[in-house]
Subunit: 438 residues, 4 copies
């Protein structure tokens, strides 16, 4: 009943269109994870068809993680469709529990979740903030939505309200962005699936089945408390096993180093990319304002993974030794060594490694930082101050999740976990003595 | 090379057998979880064919859990095969790491893991200790092994040594029974698979890939520490979500109540099962000695799930109202109500519920305990005193798992988690006021 | 919208019920195959709770197939839930395509599919027609529906119309029983899943996505023609690899032989089952009338797999050698030998085998038929006369599937495939010469 | 035993290496399909690490199929690893059946299967033969192997013999290339997995379990005949549903058209790619000799998917309207319309469409062929003359598969299936009348 109703609305508002073209919009996508993803609406179809969205086919979901997990070549395009699929399930569950969501709201939720990540650039998170410093991918997503809203005659108004958290029904935004949003439910499942790290998989169906709404706030039914724990633990596991896997982390640090080197050389006038004027523009040291993104949208749309790869390929033979060496590292997966530890590295050990690197690479103090560097990686599974998970008790009351049961692993989940890493060439004098930190 | 060698040995020791019958012993079993399970050895084939082992086809793995998870009808038979399959993988991994395991030892490990659970009785753990009080299923398994050892002319000697922990190479026993034994790796995976509780699934392949041996002690390679955590958390999850699921727990408590009632009636001469003399024998109030089990093996082999089901079906119409009512409860899944809580129930509340039950059932103080009862369920994910998980660091040292990183969830995993439950008829005066404990 | 609407209807018609008890009826079942199965309706909940339906927990889906595929212990209970789940999907798809199905019809479809197999007896198809000769499981299903309809004040009227094909909208019945009904879509998927025979799996989601309705007739969209072929081939594969697997077939033939022997002994007064009066009644040589089943429903409800197993266990020691031997065969999986061939067996060869069996068993000509027998197994993947699969072409016309493309495998699928089998004791004089038919 | 032995050999031949670096070579890869892929040998590790092989990370397995199946972004790198994994299983199975394969042969089989596809260029089959006309990917693979053989001091000799079919043991080559080679077993499984077209999946484990060898010829055990049929049918299904899916086929035709246009423009001096000199070289109209490939290996190694993508991105704004339009088609997935039919298109209809295209595009007769074209796609599931599948009967005789049973679908499988397609702009005068061929 619901669906036929909706279709009729579509036919009405696009009355001149022929039946056949409408039917074609009822497309389904194959998805190895969910089986099928159906397009619920004509406008959703048109948005997916738009070049802005098609570009996501050329943006990898997990940056360079495929250097560690060779299956992880999935894209932002597929992730966005997956999120929309889960949103369909969530809306269905909430309606079953008596939460009213009208057709316009439903459509807006689909649009908002479909476009929530449209602003991601090449290699997604791995290069976040590099090409347009100070601008997050969410800022870009909003810029895209606004531009599309003009093109679609204001049909994205409600979706933009939801995305920018200005809609009065709080849970709409929480379904897009929050502890239990459709984004996380999909990416944890999807990333664990394509990497083959099955332990990180979550039961998105069960979590969605436990969703509820109280006073327009998203909550979890009491009997879902173990699923919440499992979800947070899976997320934590994925962080250390996959997202912050030491080799993946290293590869992404090297990628950043090499792009920074390119930016530096460009400033000095020592770098040209005759075919890639657009990339060069984004390599320049410019400042961007959130309010101003509109005028860069077209250029940004032309920027994707392939630009970066082709530049790296070009740079293999660049006269700058540092740029060419870093480029070859990525292309041939001949990376530096990385040590990772729960404790800070011994200062003396670090100094020794640095000296060995200087001796080995024969570069300046300043330039050694391309081959020798350290840092920390952090993760906190659950930040209850920022994004509390609320539980609906059987007596109707709502409480924050960690209040329920002190026997949980919540103590660990609330803590910020921190790791130290140290990177340097593999061959600095045969084999370095290993640190005791490991 | 390994395998052809082994086959040749078989051909030698059974030289009179024809080629065809040997080939037939190289059977494979389909397994929805692992794809295929191959029988590695002729003696394993003969043990599987034995009526003692075939009986396991009639012993359900998870008692009455299928009343909650309708897919959970798998048997001890399949579980035993699964364990043997994982043992093949484990031996392979350990050999790759340079641990020598000779052919006789390999065979003994297969036998020991195949038969480690052969002593389970009807409904497995749910009725453990009921039919033969004081005798564990491991005692029975040992009795079976000894009996089979006679039949197989001592070929199970080594397996028995491993099973009884009298073999000098400690890790042999640990592969059969320990924190990371093949038993657990299979049952967690299998039970999560058949119940559909995917969050409880473990990556047995990864865990096995991380196994190692130091000084004949089973250890885990350092890079497996997150997998260990994930494994312990999954086990904990399965306990509360499945093994101690409140409805499953309730059903098994009712089953025990009804069998105890039957035992009582038998003592008073008020119970006959003309067709089930064997079951009657096991219902009698006898004492059993571990050393003595040999003489009961044949009778025990005749005892399986079907005996209990048929008795319950017979008892539906038994003149004893309590027995018949409890029987109908199980058959028609019309159970009592169960409340479960992290806190002890309020004494007053309990007293009120008891009184309401007395009023409603019109039975004596003594008999009310069949319809009104309480108790606690406990689980501890990791008991490091009893079964420490040892980790092999990169420097070659071995340390207990929780020593590695205080940021783990290990604090929670080391604690014993306890829940209180209270059971009573659903309809005691319309609807009882609910306790605040929930 | 749809679902809240439906729920409101429920609340109206059961206005006295409290909110809590209603919510409890919105239960979900875990299913290893589909993830979750939700109960769409309050009456569905009540039907599932009914002892008639709970009995299906004790009826195995695949008879003795678990002697070949040890994972195949799933039940009619789970299958019925699975079918209902697929019906929910099908209704959803059809509505999306503009087919109107009102709420009452929807409910009736759920009821009809949920109960379509409720009439199955012990071991499902394996013993079909044995206990009540001339009565199919569909006859029993109808008897159950009628009985339940009285109890539920006529609420099953529409479902019964659909089941008995007396409802004017043809496709309702076709969704319950036809080439592409929800029954087949579930059992092929479920049986392939639990046996681990992955090649038999079908993509039920895709098939359902291709369903359509023209003039109240179920059709398949043109682009689904390859999926149809795949579906028929999978079904054919499952027949020969699983349903008619020679060892499974043999075991079921032996089971029938032993039950027939029991029936014979009963007639002669040589068989008693003091505890199983109900089973004895169904072993008697009675005739049943379809119109008359009503009075046997209660007795039939008490008949399940456990009765048969317990009888077999009792008969292991029966003085009749034939009965006891056949019983032991099943219990210990020490079966006869079976040869299976595409060609008829050579008459001389058959005669020789028979003579050897006579010599070996030392029984009469008449009794040798318990140990020596032959027969044929047949399967036809697609009977287009009886249940044509109709395809909706893009020009709006409808045609039978095999008309579309002569390059298909349809020629093979239309043929009846036939195999010959011959069964006899394994040890008739050492090893028999093998036939050239194999 | 086998594995420790092999490891020892490694240690001996590389005696100067430290233990640690050896252990590091015992790496495992995560694979969503098989769980884990282990590297069996030190030389395999070194080959995988080689830049020639790492390049495969940038060669997509399925060309532009991801425009239809968004999950299909897997690479030749992962496929090669998967094949090697299956080879490990196959060797294991064959040894169990008494086929002796010594350690050198085993290693050679791993090398040969690992490198069998190393010669694939950008977009794999989609552009086969475009960049180096007359040279197949197998020719390139051989060139790579020879080059690597020099670098590895002749250690690839045996692998090259196997690959080039000059090794006396026939089945070695058949495992690399033949009806049932590890290549097909992996790609069917992998492609069906990543596309989500589950019906195309095959049971590679079962097929491998059925492998056997008679007189150094690869055969299938009799009981695998249904699995063979299933395998051929799955392959056929994958061809029409995936590999020759009309939209995927269309996209690849357009890609070829645009590259041919680029080649033409280059010839006329109207095309430059200042950054992509290497690609320009391969766009030139050169001829290549198989014997000569050696000197192009380095340049070819630098050619991958990213080059093509970046060129297409550059060409979006090319002054040549045809090149720019075709480029935009691919980038924005705004393709032509394609009609596909089992029958040849009506000549008149084709002429009309062509005229409409001419009118619409306003191009010359010659140039219209970029927007209007037709062709045929063919597939034959089983070519028994070229690559017979041999079956080992129980009496020891070997026969070709289709001889066994005329009731099979083999008739259909032996036929060449042919489809006609016709492509033209979507908007040639509103909507064209549809042909009756569809």
């Amino acid at each position: 009943m619901l669906l036929t109703l909706r279709l009729k609305l579509i036919f009405v508002c696009k009355s001149s269109a022929k039946h056949m073209s409408q039917t074609n919009k009822l497309k389904i996508f194959n998805d190895p994870i969910y089986g099928f993803i159906t397009i619920p609406d004509s406008i959703i179809f048109d948005l997916i068809e738009h070049p802005y969205f098609q570009r996501l086919r050329r943006i990898s979901q997990m940056g360079l993680s495929n250097l560690v997990y060779p299956g992880a070549h999935h894209t932002r395009f597929h992730h966005a469709l997956g999120c929309m699929h889960l949103m369909q399930k969530a809306i269905n569950v909430l309606r079953t529990k008596g939460i009213s969501i009208n057709h316009k709201e439903e459509q807006a939720l689909y649009i908002a979740i479909l476009l929530h990540d449209i602003g991601h650039g090449p290699f997604s998170h791995a290069l976040e903030g590099f090409f347009t410093p100070g601008i997050s991918h969410e800022d870009w997503s909003l810029a895209y939505m606004k531009k599309l809203n003009k093109e679609f005659d204001g049909k994205l108004d409600l979706a933009i309200q939801i995305f920018t958290k200005t809609h009065p029904r709080n849970f709409f935004h929480q379904l897009i962005s929050g502890q239990l949003d459709m984004d996380r439910l999909d990416y944890l499942k999807r990333d664990s699936f394509y990497t083959g790290v099955v332990e990180g998989s979550i039961n998105s169906d069960r979590l969605i089945a436990m969703l509820n709404v109280v006073d327009d706030d998203l909550v979890i039914d009491k009997k879902g408390i173990y699923s919440i724990e499992k979800f947070l633990l899976s997320r934590r596991f994925m962080y250390w096993q996959v997202y912050l896997h030491k080799t993946g982390l290293l590869a992404e640090k090297i990628l950043l180093k090499l792009l920074n080197r390119a930016r530096e050389l460009l400033k000095k006038g020592q770098l040209t990319l005759p075919q890639q004027a657009n990339l060069i523009d984004f390599l320049k040291d410019k400042t961007y304002q959130k309010e101003d993104l509109d005028k860069y949208v077209e250029a940004y749309t032309q920027l994707d993974d392939h630009d970066v790869w082709t530049a790296i390929k070009t740079w293999q033979d660049h006269p700058d030794k540092i740029l060419s060496e870093l480029s070859q590292m990525i292309l041939n997966r001949k990376l530096l060594r990385i040590e990772m530890s729960d404790k800070a590295f011994d200062t003396e050990y670090v100094a020794k490694i640095k000296q060995k690197t200087l001796d080995f690479k024969q570069v300046s103090e300043e330039e050694v930082s391309y081959f020798f560097f350290q840092g920390t990686a952090k993760n906190r599974a659950y930040n209850k101050e920022q994004e509390a998970i609320k539980v609906l008790l059987k007596n109707g009351q709502v409480t924050e999740w960690t209040n329920i049961d002190e026997q949980f692993t919540s103590v660990a989940l609330l803590q910020t976990q921190k790791k130290y890493y140290l990177c340097y060439p593999k061959r600095i004098l045969n084999m370095p003595e290993r640190t005791n930190a490991d």
